[in-house]
Amino acid sequence: MKDWIRAACLVAAAAAAVSAGGGEPPRAEAARPAARKAEQLVQAQPPPFSEGVYPCSQCHDKPGDRTRRALGYHDEIQAIFDHDAEHRWCLDCHDVANRDVLHLSNGDPVPFTESYRLCGQCHGDKFRDWRVGVHGKRVGAWNGAKTYFLCVNCHNPHSPRFKGVKEIEVGGRSVTQPTLELLAPLPRPQRPEEMRP
């Protein structure tokens, strides 16, 4: 009888040890999916710069005037600017010290290739959806490496309501660029009577 009790105690102790030691594996597992995700998240398409516009420091070689005003250049952007235009202007997103980057609201620089971090500051709901693949487009493998599309591949940052997209060449690569016109539909299907020989 005593042996039986001793055996039971041993089993209980062993079980306690296992459960105490079991504290670590879950933490390791929690780290693993994140690592897997980072590995699979392929860089988004490059930003769809128009021919010759980048780097901006070609023209903006010294820090400019920070006061908000109508500019004498970039007419094509000023004409369409419709991104909370009442409250904001160029230097709210573009960095005044280094024109080849953007900046967050706290002043931290953001390269154009990661502009989604800037967009996500205000559009957090869309950003969260985009990060998990619910908003926006991805191409590649449904169970592996994907190419993400940046916000600006489909939304013109200066006039962000979605209208349409087209393909352009950037550095020999086909890149999606937003357009200012809506898409034209492809031809309608044939009616049954049109298919008869």
Binding site: V134, A141, W142, L183, P185
Partner: protein, 336 residues
């Protein structure tokens, strides 16, 4: 599909009955089946010489009808009952035939369902603009007949916002300079890969079935073209090759799957397979990759991290014609 588990019950005498079956259904229908069966023909043909003659004549007629299709195609068993070697031989034959017809190298994949995968598809109705890019990407990817007959696996319905999802007011033939048109929304419809597929139940020859990963497939060699599945499908997702499909050699997609986009003969039914040739190899379907507005989502329903599961967890989701209890694996949702 090479798995031998869960075999359908196929009649033993079927191989002979099918002798002139799939490619020439009229001959099949016109023949009295009972004449084939040795037990039943005995009382009528008791003269052994007459019986031999009839057999030879029948075989000759069958051979004449078969020309170009090969005898083994007609005498073979159901695809699920074939061994790996048989399938390999069948694929090699189909590849040779296509290389003769199109003068191009093609590969026909036979890969089966992936372990632990159940495909799910999401379509965001608040994003779709009705541009029909998906329709034509699908045609190109899946080797559909281009014209006469023109076959589109995806039909984009234009509906009025005031009416909601209402098929009585839907128009598939809309024409516009620019889309979306004011006051309209668009609902693309394709095979919903039902969990309870009426088409599979309707098929008299078991030429269509549901795979483990959820894709409803068709064996084009086994289809007799009766179109029962088409009348059973509540989504109009199945399409019939009324004439020989028109497909130019330079438009052929050479990356094919035996149960997917290999060119179909005249007189068989075809439908969307979630691009089985792409998705079983880890790629997105062609319609997902072409969609310019990112309205189409695809992934593994068994993976909680997948895009489709995120959609189902966080968005308003519905299935089309839910009241019919077809339980589609194709979900419509509103992301906004």
């Amino acid at each position: 599909m090479t798995t031998r588990k869960g075999l359908p019950i196929v009649h033993d005498g079927r191989a002979q009955e099918q002798a002139d079956g799939p490619a020439s259904p009229p001959a099949h229908r016109s023949r009295d089946r009972s004449e084939d069966k040795p037990g039943r023909e005995a009382p009528r043909c008791d003269d052994p010489r007459r019986r031999t003659f009839l057999k030879t004549a029948a075989a000759g007629a069958a051979m004449a009808a078969l020309s170009g299709c090969g005898v083994e195609g007609f005498l073979r068993k159901h695809l699920k009952e074939l061994s790996k070697e048989d399938v390999a031989r069948l694929v090699a034959k189909l590849q040779r035939e296509q290389e003769r017809r199109f003068a191009r190298k093609v590969t026909i994949d036979t890969s089966g369902p992936l372990e632990g995968v159940l495909f799910g598809y999401g379509l965001d109705l608040s994003r779709c603009v009705g541009c029909r890019r998906c329709v034509y990407a699908c045609v190109k990817e899946n080797n559909q007949s281009r014209a006469h007959p023109q076959i589109h696996w995806i039909r984009v319905l234009e509906m009025e916002k005031a009416q909601g999802v209402d098929l009585a007011h839907a128009d598939v033939y809309y024409e516009a300079d620019r889309v979306p048109r004011e006051g309209h929304f668009y609902m693309p419809v394709q095979c919903q890969q039902c969990r309870n597929p009426p088409c599979v139940k309707a098929c008299p020859t078991q030429a269509t079935w549901k795979e483990k990963d959820g894709i409803v497939v068709i064996d084009y060699d086994w289809c007799i073209g009766c179109r029962c599945c088409m009348s059973a499908c509540p989504y109009g997702a199945r399409h019939f090759n009324w004439a020989s499909p028109t497909l130019a050699a330079d438009e052929l997609n050479p990356d094919q799957h035996l149960l997917g986009n290999r060119p179909r003969p005249k007189g068989v039914v075809e439908k969307c397979t979630f691009c089985i040739q792409r998705t079983r190899n880890g790629r997105y379907p062609a319609c997902v990759e072409i969609c310019p507005v990112g309205a189409r989502k695809f992934g593994n329903l068994l993976d909680p991290e997948s895009e489709i599961r995120r959609v189902m967890d966080t968005k308003r989701v519905f299935v089309f014609k839910e009241e019919l209890a077809t339980h589609p694996q194709f979900y419509y949702f509103y992301a906004t």
